[in-house]
């Protein structure tokens, strides 16, 4: 069905009893042209772009849980394109442009809100680094503004400008950045893909790959039976190593837990997204009023979707250093999600050494903002067997070639990215 003011009015007149399912709850067929493993944002976006842009409509998305049960519903909903290195800068801007037209493309309200993303700086050296980052963005056609303390005092008078150790000196603002409603993003892609004939199959866990005599992947074994496939794409960040191991692959990835937090609802306080530059703390305010915030990953390998207290303490200390008054606000909920931490902090979108198997992985803790572009370039790779130009550097063999994309310059230590 098509959503509009008229469909809303019609449903309202009948007491909201005639809404159809947002997407078809499909059962697996014997064979698909493309099977996408993983019904998160990236997998669903891949399926939608395959059907809408590349004319491949005989597609299935396999999800071991239900749509929205994994990281799609666990992130802190931030969208931005303020990256500094070749490979990342253009890719994330492609994503931002796709966010800007997503609701029209999908006929679904994903509540994209360009309320601005502000990275604060606390020293002269950090100001210079942010000026450089802003310039990199601007020469690539991305909006960026370097704000001084006077501008910030007007905008955010409650910040701890005179902190003895980390005074707020200014910030780098991307006004086109902001937030989106994360559940609505997966629901929207599921809705639009399903309308084009894509089968979205929930409670269907992949348990192995079907290979022919030459080793080519020709399908998947699942908890709901064998499903044949012309090509198989993996979009299972968090579990990439486990799924790849079924095809005999080892990846340059470790799985780590990242926590996120939400406070009780308060009146409008934080206008956009802001990040503390002297520790790791970032915050925005949801439309319901809760402060949504987070910080570093816990730092040890984990597949448990929960973290430990030291990081919680560190994140809250960062918040208190930046906005002392939030000490009066109570923490409401806290949860964890599993991140594919790659060896250079950047993603991998590439063919694998196994014929017929394609990989979309290594999103670290930045996968949400990448959702539309990740789907688009992965669909491009699956449909045409060649990388999209904005994903041309996200190759699996880049570690072997010494062509890392390491924004933080940390080297091959995944828990430091």
């Amino acid at each position: 069905m098509k959503y509009s003011i008229f469909s809303l009015a019609r449903a309202a007149l009948s007491g909201h009893k005639n809404w159809q399912r947002t997407w078809r709850d499909a059962s697996p067929k014997d064979h698909y042209d493309v099977v996408v493993i993983g019904g998160g944002g990236h997998g669903l976006a891949t399926a939608w772009f395959l059907a809408s842009e590349f004319g491949i409509k005989n597609v299935a998305v396999l999800e071991k849980g239900w749509i929205g049960s994994g990281n799609a519903g666990r992130n802190t909903t931030i969208i931005r394109s303020n990256y500094g290195l070749p490979g990342n800068t253009g890719f994330y801007e492609l994503s931002m442009k796709l966010w800007e037209r997503m609701e029209q493309d999908l006929n679904y309200n994903s509540m994209v809100s360009q309320r601005g993303v502000l990275n604060l700086y606390h020293s002269d050296a950090q100001r210079d680094a942010y000026a450089r980052r802003g310039n990199t963005m601007r020469i690539n056609g991305i909006d960026a503004e370097l704000l001084d303390q006077a501008a910030l005092k007007k905008m955010l008078p409650f910040l701890n400008f005179d902190h003895a150790r980390f005074p707020v000196q200014g910030g780098l603002l991307q006004r086109r950045g902001g937030t989106a409603r994360h559940d609505a993003v997966v629901w929207g892609y599921a809705h639009a893909a399903s309308e084009l004939g894509v089968d979205i199959i929930q409670n269907c866990e992949v348990t192995g790959f079907v290979r022919d005599g030459n080793g080519k992947v020709t399908g998947v074994e699942t908890s709901r039976g064998k499903i044949g496939a012309g090509k198989v794409g993996m979009a299972v960040a968090g579990s990439s190593s486990r799924v790849a191991a079924m095809a005999g692959l080892r990846l340059p990835i470790e799985s780590h837990v990242l926590q996120a937090f939400v406070s009780e609802a308060i009146k409008p306080l934080i206008p956009g997204v802001m990040t503390f530059g002297a520790g790791h703390f970032y915050v925005s305010q949801s439309d319901k009023g809760g402060l949504v915030f987070g910080g570093d990953i816990d730092g040890y390998n984990s597949y448990a979707q929960r973290g430990n207290l030291p990081v919680m303490e560190d994140v809250c200390e960062g918040g208190m250093a930046l906005i002392p008054m939030i000490g009066r606000v109570r923490l409401l909920r806290q949860w964890g999600g599993i991140m594919d931490m790659s060896m250079d902090g950047s993603p991998i979108i590439d063919k694998t050494p196994v014929d017929g198997l394609y990989l979309n992985a290594g999103w670290c803790y930045g996968g949400f903002k990448a959702t539309p572009a990740s789907g688009f370039v992965f669909a491009h790779l699956l449909a045409r067997d060649e990388s999209h130009k904005e994903a041309a550097l996200f190759r699996l063999d880049r570690f072997q070639r010494g062509a890392m994309i390491d924004e933080k310059g940390q080297g091959a230590q995944p828990n430091l990215h």
């Binding site: 190593s241 990846l251 799985s255 207290l309 030291p310 060896m343």
Partner: protein
């Protein structure tokens, strides 16, 4: 998660830093590029029980080999890493 350091007793997690899987071994000096690539970049990324290197920087500054389940965070064994830090003194 708390770690029972063999030298200091039970201590909170924030005293320790994490290096990672204890399985990869540094290749010999004249090993080929593939062996170095494997050691530096590729990981089993175990879902289950794994031996790991932790450093007790907020205590005795010993390197420890911790056996831990990555699915549950349950720690089943902690022992000094042979020949490192306080373990060297203790040996």
């Amino acid at each position: 998660m708390r770690i029972v350091c063999p030298f200091c007793g039970e201590r909170e997690l924030s005293e320790f830093s994490y290096l990672g899987d204890a399985k990869p071994q540094r290749p010999v000096a004249n090993a080929g590029e593939d062996a170095v690539y494997d050691y530096v970049y590729l990981r089993d990324n175990v879902a289950g029980v794994m031996a790991e290197n932790w450093y007790h920087g907020g205590g005795c500054r010993a390197w420890l080999k911790v056996t831990r389940n990555t699915l549950t965070h349950e720690i089943s064994a902690v022992e000094p890493t042979a020949g490192a830090g306080a373990a060297k003194v203790g040996a």
